[in-house]
């Protein structure tokens, strides 16, 4: 059974705040989905390994640098999306307390 405590733990891992009122409902919802997927436990898989599509293969590319102008433009565009930025950097709060 998924408990309210489990929800609190998952919410912490997923970096989501969950209100007291929501916890009960979320626990029920997750429980319902997990009950629904239970049949998989009985499925016969023999010596099957992970899913793999035949047409897919790992592809590598050169770690090439873009030309400077294109790169500078892209950097600016991406930075412009950041909610808080300063002097060409994304700004964040302190990770550790002072």
């Amino acid at each position: 059974m998924i408990s309210k405590k489990d929800i609190e733990h998952l919410a912490k891992l997923a970096r989501i705040d969950v209100s007291e009122a929501e916890k009960e409902k979320l626990a029920q919802d997750l429980q319902a989905v997990l009950a629904y997927v239970k049949t998989l436990q009985e499925a016969d898989v023999g010596d099957e390994s992970f899913t793999h599509f035949e047409h897919l293969e790992t592809r590598l590319r050169e770690d090439a640098k873009e030309n400077d102008l294109a790169e500078a433009r892209r950097t600016q565009q991406l930075l412009a999306s950041a909610p808080v930025q300063e002097k060409g950097y994304v700004t964040v709060k302190n990770v550790l307390g002072k």
């Binding site: 998952l10 997923a14 599509f53 565009q77 999306s81 990770v95």
Partner: protein, 477 residues
């Protein structure tokens, strides 16, 4: 210019009108924008209509005036689902967490459409992050079904389906993770294709579940769907799953499989949906196709598989929305609080539910029991299809167990909502292409609603779907 019925107007018709100089591209776009002005308030298909649509059409008019060779989709007005990036435009995935986000580059499919001469009319509504089967999960209000506004249009690509169905776009793009193109296509009486996994690049698509997501077209008819697919498909360096391939087509008369596990012998769909399915089978037989009953024993695992693999991938993909690099950001006393507040206020109920479920599935102690096991079952599940496609060239099933359902009917009950995808998720799990074609009508509360049938084919055999689909659409009424 004569009055044109936009509900029966196809890409071929538009090309003829443009090339024959019976109409300018600006006039064509103008017809759609005035239809949008008339209908969108009621239906909420578009979250934003682009003010520069007519300017985009100007380029086509200039090219035509110069006598340039028309490109594949020259001047064709498109509706784009709000999870594909168009440079300089907002892209929100119908989520509060991305509401302020402006795309810094074009998605690969957008670039391809642009190069083919397409015009972008606007971005369309969807379930938040493509999570849902009704568009009720949009942070910006639901889209309504044009056949009956008390009913859902399906989802998650509900906005694009409604735009095409109600003459607010000539064609649209959607994305399909478990049925999100085909199910709304079926509910709105249009054609929808989920291509083979790897056929179309997802670069610039806001990811939901990466081993299942695929971009595809929604359109008035099979030929239009094909025309769009031919433009957007192909290899892209920025999506390592994409491959280039020659069209595959079986040489002899097609054999169509009718899978028993899709409710041939039991009651998992509405009676008129089953009638339409059987009628479609008969139609294909009359047109010279052979049909035979086949079995896919792992079918009962489709939805359970989907509801493990999808949330696991969702929880990983949505970890990037942290209030730091883009989108909504809420202030907090430290970095952790910024994350937590931004994500809590930014994500809606279904997104939160799936993130927490995926976090559970991937957490230590449960990973082997859920995720690893699901991956192994999925490998077996795919083998079912490999075997059956040695016997038949394509499979015929209903697209959805019912016509469009009323708002609110399944909203509070995730498991009930998920069951709406029962016939569509298999194609995503197996990575095969699938097409929904309108076929028949079903009456509910005195309103005649469209029904759809689905064709599934082996990997990279989209052309088989188009061939059989073209026959079925001739008998759609």
């Amino acid at each position: 210019m004569s009055v044109i019925d936009l509900n029966n107007f196809t890409i071929a018709d538009a090309k003829e009108a443009l090339h024959g100089k019976k109409m300018s591209a600006r006039e064509l776009v103008g017809m759609y924008t005035s239809q949008i002005k008339k209908e969108n308030k009621k239906l909420n298909a578009y979250l934003e209509v682009f003010e520069d649509a007519e300017d985009q059409a100007k380029e086509t008019d200039e090219r035509m005036a110069r006598g340039d060779e028309p490109r594949a989709l020259e001047g064709i007005p498109f509706a784009i689902k709000d999870n594909m990036l168009i440079e300089g435009k907002r892209t929100s995935a119908a989520s509060k967490i991305l509401e302020p986000y402006v795309a810094s580059y074009d998605a690969h499919v957008i670039q391809k459409l642009r190069d083919a001469g397409a015009v972008f009319l606007g971005r369309t509504n969807m379930d938040e992050f493509a999570m849902g089967s009704s568009t009720e999960n949009s942070a910006f209000g639901p889209t309504k079904n044009p056949y009956d506004t008390s009913r859902v249009p399906g989802g998650s690509s509900g906005g694009s389906a409604v735009a095409v169905a109600s003459g607010m776009a000539l064609a649209g793009l959607g994305s399909d993770t478990g049925g999100s193109i085909r199910q709304p296509a079926s509910f709105c009486g249009v054609v929808g294709l989920k291509p083979t996994y790897g056929a179309v690049s997802r670069s610039g698509l806001i990811a939901m579940a990466s081993s299942l997501d695929q971009i595809g077209p929604l359109a008035q008819c099979v030929d239009d769907t094909r025309a769009v697919f031919e433009v957007i498909r192909g290899e892209d360096k920025k999506d390592a799953t994409t491959v280039s391939y020659a069209e595959k087509r079986p040489a002899q008369k097609l054999v169509i499989g009718i899978p028993k596990e899709y409710g041939l012998e039991d009651d998992i769909m509405d009676a008129d949906v089953k009638d339409a399915w059987m009628q479609a089978r008969k139609t294909l037989e009359q047109e010279g196709y052979e049909t035979k009953e086949v079995t896919l024993p792992y079918t009962s695992y489709a939805l359970p598989l989907y509801y493990i693999i999808m949330p696991a991938e969702v929880s990983s993909n949505l970890a990037r929305f942290d209030g730091i690099r883009y989108g909504l950001s809420h202030n907090g006393k430290d970095l952790l609080e910024v994350y937590e507040k931004s994500r809590s206020r930014g994500f809606g109920d279904e997104a939160r539910r799936r993130i927490l479920l995926g976090t559970y599935i991937l957490s230590a102690g449960y990973y082997d029991a859920y995720y690893a096991k699901a991956q192994k079952v999925r490998a077996r599940f795919i083998k079912d299809f490999e075997r059956v496609f040695k016997e038949v060239d394509a499979l015929l099933t209903p697209t959805v167990p019912s016509p469009a359902f009323p708002f609110g009917e399944k909203l509070g009950d995730p498991v009930k909502m998920y069951a709406s995808d029962i016939f569509t998720v298999s194609a995503n799990l197996a990575g095969i292409p699938a097409l929904s074609v309108p076929f028949g009508k079903g009456e509910r509360d005195g309103v005649s609603l469209p029904l759809g049938v689905q064709l599934m084919a082996p990997w990279f055999h989209e052309s088989t779907l188009f061939d059989a689909g073209r026959i079925l659409e001739k008998y759609r009424e």
